[in-house]
Symmetry: C2
Subunit: 416 residues, 2 copies
């Protein structure tokens, strides 16, 4: 991420403060100037200036504050402007693709989710499909909307630097320069991607009920098993973006061969295939069919299913205990199909995680299921791009005039 330390000048200061204010507004959607001043520690006059600049950039609007909270002049309220920066968020799964237009503040303009037959598809087909799906969504955006870029959640091993898909087993891909292809086909410069567990973690941290815990682990059970890590409020992606492949850590040397080639990976004990095996269900059934079927039987009181879920929960707990010892997080969030099954897993997960974890890190951690539901990957994908916008609001909207009165100066339309 950041290189060795460099010196900075006043403009960097401005960028930082602008970014701080925009970040708070992005999360809270609206804040009064006085709330902003308190939260950031900046002076009234500085906040005024910063909000003015953000308004000029089209990222926020300011209204006269409403009254009611006590004596004193009501404070002006700054509201995030969703159309100021819109992300085309994409979730690419084995059996469906979801696309959404998400604006600043997390506002979802539109969303489509199209199932398709599972199995291998070429990257070109997928990109074409994406273009078809996204066109109407982009059309439907307000005319003053600015597209910030594309954020994608991909079930696979993705290099973050250039959005290169090293391998995506369920899609049958390897070595696909996906970001470049999407960029070329859709015509957007900024195309960012990461795997769904990383993005689930980001979504939980930014938009979940994480209570602003700054160290969290998101455990995603999909076809494979992966984790996303937020360390000190930032995504921990590793040197190349491959971090979080905890599904492929050995927990059982006497276990089964994993599709990665190694033996006894965590995934072989808690992945979807393990679930099907334990429950005595054919793997042929589709993913959603499987969990639905198991939930149905569990609610019906099928004892075989309880045994299976207890066994799965036990292994899930062991892995989570391992993660607690390794990372010392203050929150572990359960996502993917684990989340759907969690009521039946909770007890065994807690028990075996506690057995595994050392006392000290165990005492300060909470384990919770995700509450974002199925949108978690899309939200994370959008936040990936928003992070860039927020880090440098000015350069993002560099086509706009950066000085002069907002109301008076005419905005030059792009020609071409």
């Amino acid at each position: 991420m950041s290189g060795p330390r460099r010196g900075v000048a006043s403009e960097e200061l401005r960028r930082h403060n602008l970014s701080t204010v925009l970040d708070r507004l992005h999360i809270a959607k609206e804040l009064s100037r006085s709330e902003l001043a308190t939260q950031t520690g900046l002076n009234r006059s500085t906040i005024r200036d910063l909000i003015g600049e953000l308004a000029r950039l089209g990222l926020v609007v300011e209204d006269r504050g409403t009254t009611g909270t006590g004596p004193g002049r009501p404070s002006s309220v700054a509201t995030i402007q969703p159309a100021g920066a819109v992300v085309l968020a994409v979730e690419l799964e084995v059996d469906f693709m979801a696309v959404a237009t998400v604006g600043l503040g997390g506002h979802i303009f539109d969303k489509v989710r199209v199932a398709h037959s599972a199995g291998p598809r070429t990257p070109l087909e997928i990109v074409e499909h994406l273009a078809t799906l996204s066109a109407p969504l982009l059309q439907a955006l307000p005319s003053d909307a600015t597209i910030a870029g594309v954020g994608m959640a991909v079930a696979g091993v993705v290099r973050r630097q250039d959005g290169f898909v090293h391998v995506a087993p369920n899609l049958g891909w390897s070595n696909v320069p996906l970001a470049g292809m999407v960029s070329a086909r859709l015509g957007f410069d900024r195309v960012m991607m990461a795997n769904e567990a990383d993005l689930g973690a980001l979504a939980e941290y930014r938009r979940g009920t994480s209570g602003r815990n700054r160290h969290l682990i998101f455990v995603a059970g999909e076809v494979g098993v992966g984790i996303g890590i937020i360390y000190d409020g930032k995504p921990m992606l590793g040197a190349a973006g491959y971090a979080g492949e905890a599904g492929h850590t050995m927990v059982n040397p006497e276990g089964r061969m994993c599709r990665c080639g190694a033996i006894g990976c965590w995934e072989t004990e808690v992945g979807e295939e393990a679930l099907a095996r334990l429950a005595g269900v054919s793997t042929e059934e589709a993913r959603e069919g499987l969990t639905a079927e198991i939930l149905r039987r569990a609610h019906a009181g099928d004892p075989e299913i309880f045994t299976a879920l207890n066994e799965l929960g036990r292994w899930l707990g062991v892995g989570i205990g391992n993660l607690i010892n390794t990372f010392n997080p203050d929150l572990v969030v359960i996502g993917g199909f684990f989340q759907e099954l969690y009521p039946f897993l909770e007890q065994s997960v807690n028990q075996s995680a506690q057995e595994m974890a050392l006392t000290a890190p165990w005492l300060s951690v909470r384990i919770r299921r995700s509450e974002l539901g199925g949108d978690s990957a899309l939200i994370g994908a959008s936040e990936l791009v928003f992070a860039e916008v927020i880090a440098n609001p000015t350069s993002f909207a560099s086509h706009l005039p950066t000085s002069g009165s907002g109301e008076l100066s005419p905005v030059t339309k792009d020609v071409g």
Copy 2:
């Protein structure tokens, strides 16, 4: 660590730049002004000003540059002043205590290492012992030396926030407010501690031949097994400082009971006890005796030892593969007794790590033995405190005048 984002003013800018320059000088020991300007991107005039302030704080000295590299006026050279900030670095082990006085730039003024009989000792005894050992070292420092604080490496689970030893099994301690005790006994305000693996990682990153890799994992084999993590150039300590207890992650559900109470921890396969067991040596022998004995036999070509080391290396490699998949580091450094045995472990470690790791993260990682030798914990302990000094050079030396000409203004002596 850092809380939610706050706004900053110009003083913060200054602090950042001062810190940047001091950091570079701390690592390089001396740099010309022009080198600093190039590296930091700051202007000549700014560098001059910053160096001036650091000189006034007594942290660097400036000399006329030596000539020789080409035409042009020689650039002044700033040299780090070791006595400007001296850390009392302490390594607390089961069978010995090491104490050193380390100055800025990593200069070691003095060092003592005293063996004592293993086994439980009370915290009070240890603190008293430390006071006795450190007194002559502090006496021997130059009269103008400023003590920055105490940094300690402790073999145990330590809360970084307040230096609270949650548990240190080999010392027989639990719930010891060690930092507070040391602070009270020695009279230094700043007492910081962490476990030896965290500090080994820090030492490797700051003073090892890490090649400035910003993502590294240090694997420390002592009585227990722990890892230290550097993520993006910063120590990753977790929410409370307990991160890195990878020795207590399950790798073998059919394995042995660990002293932590769980079954099949990595430590039970690669820790010192496992080594003794595999080699058929009594655990009674002291730590150093054990590795020396095994090295002797290995050099003599004892086939039983080769089998034992291969088995240990295999498990070590599995765990390292797990870590590579989880963290995607660009460097793994082998420390502790693993480092001493590494020539005999290397092959099996590499083989099983490669089998375990996914292709993508495996291709970009290197595995190397530590080259810092036995000083790694002491160096890390000093860097822990130096990080604080470097983060805020001005407030560190707040007793000195912060303005006016360095040569002319008299320094007020502390009274009392």
